[in-house]
C-alpha cells in the first residue's frame, strides 16, 4: 500500500500534512522493538506502519526480541497482572524476564536515533541507553491503571529511565516522572481485514465458514482470553435470544505470546453447550478477508471485554459502519461515544439490553454505525497514527506547548 492509496479515504490534505511533518524528520532513524512479528494488535500496527514511515522518508526499522516459551509464560502473567489480575509470579519469573532482556541486550544491534520499545516484554532494554544513546520511548499498549503493584514496581524502575512514554488512553497512565503522551492505535483501511468487499466475496466467506444467514448475526471477534469475556458474551446472547431469534458468532485467532487461549476456548464451548445458534470459530485457519466478511455480514458487533488495551476490533467494526455494543473499559469509550457512535454497556444484562435495542431499531442502528465510521475515519485510521508518531518524534525535541517549525 502506498500513501496515495489512502487519499480517497482520508483526503489529499491529510496526506499533504503527513509529508510536511515527515519533511522535518527526513532520514531520522527510528528503531521499533517488540516481542512478536505475528498475532496481536502491536505486530499488526507495525506491519502497516513501518512501510508508510519509510515512504515518508523516515528511516523506520523493526526488530523482535528472542524469548523462550517460559519467557512468554511469564510475560503473559505480567500482562494479566498489569490488568489487575492476581497471578502467581515467583522471583524466578522476574529473573527469567531480566535474563531474556539481558540476552537480547547483548545480541541485538541498537542503532536507532530514536528507540521505540513496545509493551512490557522488552521494557528492560532501556538499560542499554547509557551505551547506545538516542531518545528512548516506551509505548505501553495495555491498561496499567490498576496493576498488580508488585509487577508494576518491578517494571517502573525501567519505565522511568525512558525519555517519554506513550499510552493509548488517559486512564491507562500512571503518575510518572517522565513525559506521557496519548496516542491511540489504529487500523489500516486498505488491509485485508478492513478493505471493502463485494457481496459475492462476503457470501463466499460466510459459506466457507458455514454460518447461516437466515437470522440476524451478533458477532464478537477477539482472542479467546478471559479479559474478552467470551463466556459473558454467550450468557448475554442467551438473554437476547429470549425475545429475538438470532445467531451468535465468536471468532478468535491466537498470538505466539498467548498460551492461555485453549483453556478459555474449552470453557466457552462448555458454556455454549451445543447450542446450534452459537458458532465458535477458533485457531488461525480463518483468513483476514473471512473475518472482514463476517464483520460486514453481522447485524450487531460486540466487544464485551472486562479489561482492554484499546480494542482495535471495535475500530474495525465501526469502520464497517456496524452498530457496536461494547463495555466501557480501556480504550473503548474513546471509540464508542455512548448513543453517538455506538452503545456502551457495563454488564451481561446491559449488553443484552443494548443488543436487543439495536436489533429492534435498524434505523437507529444504522445511524450509530455511520457516525462510528466517520469517527474512525477522522481519529483511528493509520494515517492519524502515523501523524501522531511523527508529532511525537518532533515533540521529543521541544518542551513548549506550541511548537513553531
Amino acid at each position: 500500500m502506498k500513501l496515495p492509496d489512502y487519499e480517497p479515504i482520508v483526503g489529499k490534505s491529510t496526506i499533504e500534512e503527513l509529508r510536511l511533518l515527515a519533511s522535518k524528520l527526513a532520514g531520522r532513524e527510528i528503531q521499533n522493538i517488540n516481542s512478536t512479528y505475528v498475532g496481536g494488535g502491536v505486530a499488526e500496527i507495525l506491519n502497516h506502519m513501518i512501510p508508510i514511515l519509510q515512504e515518508l522518508g523516515v528511516d523506520a526499522r523493526w526488530n523482535v526480541i528472542k524469548g523462550s516459551p517460559g519467557f512468554f509464560e511469564v510475560t503473559k502473567k505480567f500482562h494479566n497482572a498489569l490488568h489487575g489480575r492476581k497471578e502467581p509470579i515467583s522471583e524466578d519469573d522476574f529473573e527469567l524476564f531480566l535474563e531474556i532482556n539481558r540476552k537480547n541486550m547483548a545480541e541485538m544491534d541498537f542503532h536507532g536515533q530514536t528507540m521505540f520499545i513496545h509493551d512490557p516484554q522488552p521494557c528492560a532494554l532501556i538499560e542499554k541507553k547509557a551505551e547506545s544513546g538516542g531518545k528512548w520511548i516506551w509505548r505501553c499498549h495495555i491498561d496499567v491503571s490498576n496493576p498488580d503493584e508488585r509487577v508494576w514496581r518491578f517494571l517502573e524502575r525501567f519505565v522511568i529511565k525512558y525519555d517519554a512514554t506513550v499510552f493509548s488512553a488517559p486512564a491507562f497512565s500512571r503518575p510518572l516522572p517522565v513525559r506521557q503522551f496519548l496516542i491511540s492505535p489504529s487500523i489500516d483501511p486498505l488491509s485485508d481485514k478492513n478493505k471493502d468487499l463485494s457481496t459475492r466475496e462476503i457470501d463466499a466467506a460466510m459459506e466457507a465458514m458455514k454460518i447461516p444467514r437466515d437470522k440476524p448475526i451478533v458477532t464478537q471477534v477477539s482472542r479467546f482470553d478471559y479479559m474478552k469475556d467470551p463466556v459473558g458474551v454467550v450468557k448475554a446472547f442467551e438473554l437476547v435470544k429470549r425475545s429475538i431469534d438470532c445467531t451468535l458468532v465468536l471468532v478468535g485467532g491466537g498470538a505466539t505470546d498467548d498460551p492461555e487461549g485453549e483453556k478459555v476456548l474449552a470453557e466457552v464451548k462448555a458454556a455454549a453447550d451445543g447450542n446450534p445458534d452459537i458458532h465458535i470459530i477458533s485457531g488461525q485457519a480463518r483468513s483476514d478477508i473471512e473475518i472482514n466478511a463476517l464483520q460486514r455480514a453481522s447485524t450487531v458487533i460486540l466487544q464485551k471485554s472486562l479489561k482492554e488495551g484499546f480494542a482495535l476490533t471495535v475500530s474495525e467494526a465501526l469502520w464497517k459502519a456496524k452498530p457496536v455494543v461494547a463495555t466501557a473499559v480501556g480504550g473503548i469509550p474513546l471509540q464508542v461515544r455512548h448513543k453517538l457512535t455506538g452503545l456502551l454497556s457495563h454488564g451481561i444484562d446491559g449488553t443484552a439490553y443494548a443488543v436487543r435495542q439495536l436489533l429492534a431499531n435498524p434505523d437507529y442502528a444504522r445511524w450509530l454505525g455511520e457516525n462510528g465510521k466517520e469517527h474512525v475515519r477522522h481519529n483511528f485510521l493509520i494515517t492519524r497514527h502515523v501523524r501522531d508518531y511523527l508529532l511525537l518524534f518532533i515533540a521529543l525535541d521541544h518542551s513548549e506547548d506550541v511548537i513553531h517549525l
Binding site: 500534512e17 510536511l20 506550541v402 517549525l405
Partner: protein, 464 residues
C-alpha cells in the same frame, strides 16, 4: 567603322531594340494598371494586405519589366546562340533574385499584419515568419540551380528529408500552434486572467500563453503547464482579471496536535475546580476544544470534556448543561474562559452541589494539547486565491486559523478576518467572517460557510 557596321546590320539592332522597348512599355503599363487596382481594392476593403502588395512590388516590378523586355530582345536578336543562352540565364537570375527578395519582404510584412490581426503571440508569428523565409530561400536557390543547369536531384532529396522533418515537428507542434492561434483570436482568456479548468480542477492566474502551452500559476505557487490543444478542448471558466492585491500575502499554516498527559486527575467537583485553577492554558484549551475537533464531522455538538465528564461520571445533568452552554465564542482569552468554568463549578459547590465521586477508572484526566505549526504550501495574494486555498486546506489548518489563533495564541480575532481587514482593506467582509460563530458549525460546515461568504463578495465585486 561602327557606322559602317550599323548601316550594314541596322535590322539586327533595331528589331531587338524595338521589341525590348515595346515589351517594356507594355509591362510598365500593366504594372501601373495592377498598382491602381490594388490601391482601389485597399480603399474598398480596408485590408492593408493590398498596400503591402503594392509597396513591396514597387521597385521589383520595374526590374521584372526590364528583365522581361531585355530577355525578349535577346531572344529576337541574331547574336550567337551561346551568347544568347548566357544572357538569358543572367536575366532570369536577376529576375529570380528580385522576385525572391520581393517575396521575402512581402511575406514578412503580411505575416506581421496577420499576427496583429489575430493577436497571435509573438513567438507564433516569428515561427511562421522563419518557416516562410526558409521555404522562399529554398525555392529561390533551387530555381537558380535549375536556371544554370546544376544537378538538383541530391538537393531535392535533401530538401525532401528536411521537409519531412519539418512535417514531423509540425505534427507535434502544429496542433498547439493552431490552438494558440485559436485561443488568441477567440480572446477567451489572456495573461493575468484567473481561470479554472473544469475537467481537471486546475486553476490559477494565467502567467504566459506561448505558441505551445498556457502557463497557470496556482495559489500554492506551483506552475501548471497546459498544452494549448488541451485548452481548446476543455471547459475553461474565466473569472477575469486580478482582483485587488493584498499588501501582504496570507500565509496558511498547517497545524497538527497531539495529546500529552499531565498525570493530574480529579475524582469530584472540588478537585476539578482546584485543578482547573492550576493547570496550564494548554489544558484549558484542550478540554474546551477537543470534543469539537475530534467529532468535527458531526453537525454542531457544542460540548466540552468538562461537561461530558460531569454528566457521565458524576451524573450531574444540571451542572453539565451549565458547562456545555458556556459560549466559548464570546471569550477572547483562555484565562477568562478558565475563570468562567471555575466560577460555574464553584457556584454549584457553594449551593451544596454534587459531592459525588467518580467510580474508579472514571476520573477526569487532565490532558494538554501540544500543537506543531508548520507553514503550509498555500498562500494567497488576493481574495480569489484565498478562497481557492480555503477549499483545499486540511481540517487542522482551518482549525488553526479559526479557533487556535484567536483564542490560544491570544490574537483575539481569527486570522482570516485580520488579513481581510489589514491587508485587503475588506473591513465589511472581515467583520462578517469575524461574526461567524465557528462553534456552531461542523468544521466542513464552517469551511462551506466561509467559502460562500467570500464567493458572494467576489461575485458582487465582479458585477461592480
Amino acid at each position: 567603322m561602327a557606322i559602317d557596321w550599323l548601316s550594314d546590320n541596322w535590322r539586327e539592332v533595331l528589331i531587338p531594340a524595338a521589341v525590348g522597348v515595346f515589351v517594356l512599355i507594355a509591362c510598365l503599363w500593366l504594372r501601373q494598371l495592377v498598382r491602381a487596382r490594388l490601391q482601389r481594392w485597399s480603399k474598398e476593403t480596408g485590408w492593408k494586405g493590398f498596400d503591402v502588395f503594392r509597396q513591396t512590388t514597387s521597385i521589383p516590378s520595374v526590374i521584372w519589366a526590364l528583365t522581361i523586355a531585355a530577355w525578349l530582345a535577346v531572344l529576337v536578336s541574331t547574336i550567337p546562340s551561346d551568347w544568347q543562352e548566357n544572357a538569358s540565364k543572367g536575366l532570369w537570375t536577376l529576375f529570380a533574385l528580385s522576385l525572391a527578395l520581393c517575396l521575402l519582404n512581402m511575406a514578412g510584412r503580411l505575416i506581421t499584419l496577420w499576427g496583429q490581426h489575430l493577436k497571435t503571440p509573438d513567438k507564433a508569428t516569428k515561427a511562421t515568419w522563419h518557416l516562410a523565409r526558409i521555404v522562399i530561400v529554398l525555392i529561390a536557390v533551387l530555381t537558380l540551380l535549375e536556371i544554370w543547369g546544376a544537378p538538383i536531384t541530391a538537393i531535392l532529396l535533401a530538401a525532401g528529408i528536411l521537409a519531412l522533418l519539418v512535417l514531423l515537428v509540425a505534427i507535434d507542434v502544429g496542433p498547439d500552434l493552431v490552438a494558440a492561434l485559436q485561443l488568441s483570436s477567440s480572446q477567451n482568456y489572456g495573461v493575468g486572467d484567473y481561470i479554472k479548468l473544469t475537467e481537471t480542477g486546475e486553476e490559477g492566474y494565467v502567467t504566459e500563453v506561448n505558441w505551445r502551452n498556457t502557463l497557470v500559476r496556482a495559489p500554492n505557487g506551483s506552475i501548471t503547464i497546459v498544452p494549448n490543444r488541451k485548452m481548446t478542448r476543455t471547459t475553461v471558466i474565466n473569472y477575469g482579471h486580478p482582483v485587488k492585491k493584498a499588501k501582504e500575502p496570507f500565509r496558511f499554516y498547517s497545524r497538527s496536535h497531539m495529546k500529552e498527559l499531565t498525570g493530574l486527575r480529579a475524582r469530584n467537583l472540588r478537585e476539578l475546580a482546584d485543578m482547573l485553577k492550576v493547570v496550564p492554558d494548554s489544558v484549558i484549551y484542550f478540554h474546551t476544544h477537543h470534543f469539537l475537533e475530534e467529532h468535527h464531522y458531526l453537525t454542531s455538538q457544542p460540548s466540552n470534556d468538562l461537561s461530558l465528564w460531569v454528566d457521565e461520571a458524576l451524573g450531574d445533568e444540571v451542572l453539565a448543561e451549565k458547562l456545555a452552554s458556556v459560549d466559548t465564542f464570546q471569550f477572547s482569552s483562555l484565562q477568562a474562559l478558565r475563570e468562567r468554568h471555575i466560577a460555574i463549578i464553584e457556584e454549584q459547590l457553594a449551593q451544596g452541589g454534587s459531592l459525588r465521586e467518580a467510580a474508579p477508572g472514571g476520573e477526569f484526566h487532565f490532558v494538554k494539547s501540544i500543537s506543531v505549526i508548520i507553514p503550509a504550501s498555500y498562500q494567497a495574494s488576493d481574495i480569489r486565491e484565498f478562497v481557492e486555498a480555503l477549499r483545499k486546506l486540511s481540517p487542522g489548518s482551518l482549525y488553526f486559523h479559526v479557533f487556535e489563533s484567536r483564542l490560544r495564541l491570544g490574537r483575539g480575532l481569527n486570522d482570516f478576518s485580520a488579513w481581510l481587514a489589514d491587508s485587503l482593506g475588506e473591513d465589511e467582509l472581515a467583520q462578517k467572517v469575524a461574526r461567524l460563530d465557528p462553534y456552531t458549525h461542523s468544521l466542513e460546515g464552517l469551511r462551506e460557510a466561509l467559502v460562500q461568504l467570500i464567493e458572494k463578495e467576489i461575485g458582487e465585486a465582479t458585477r461592480l
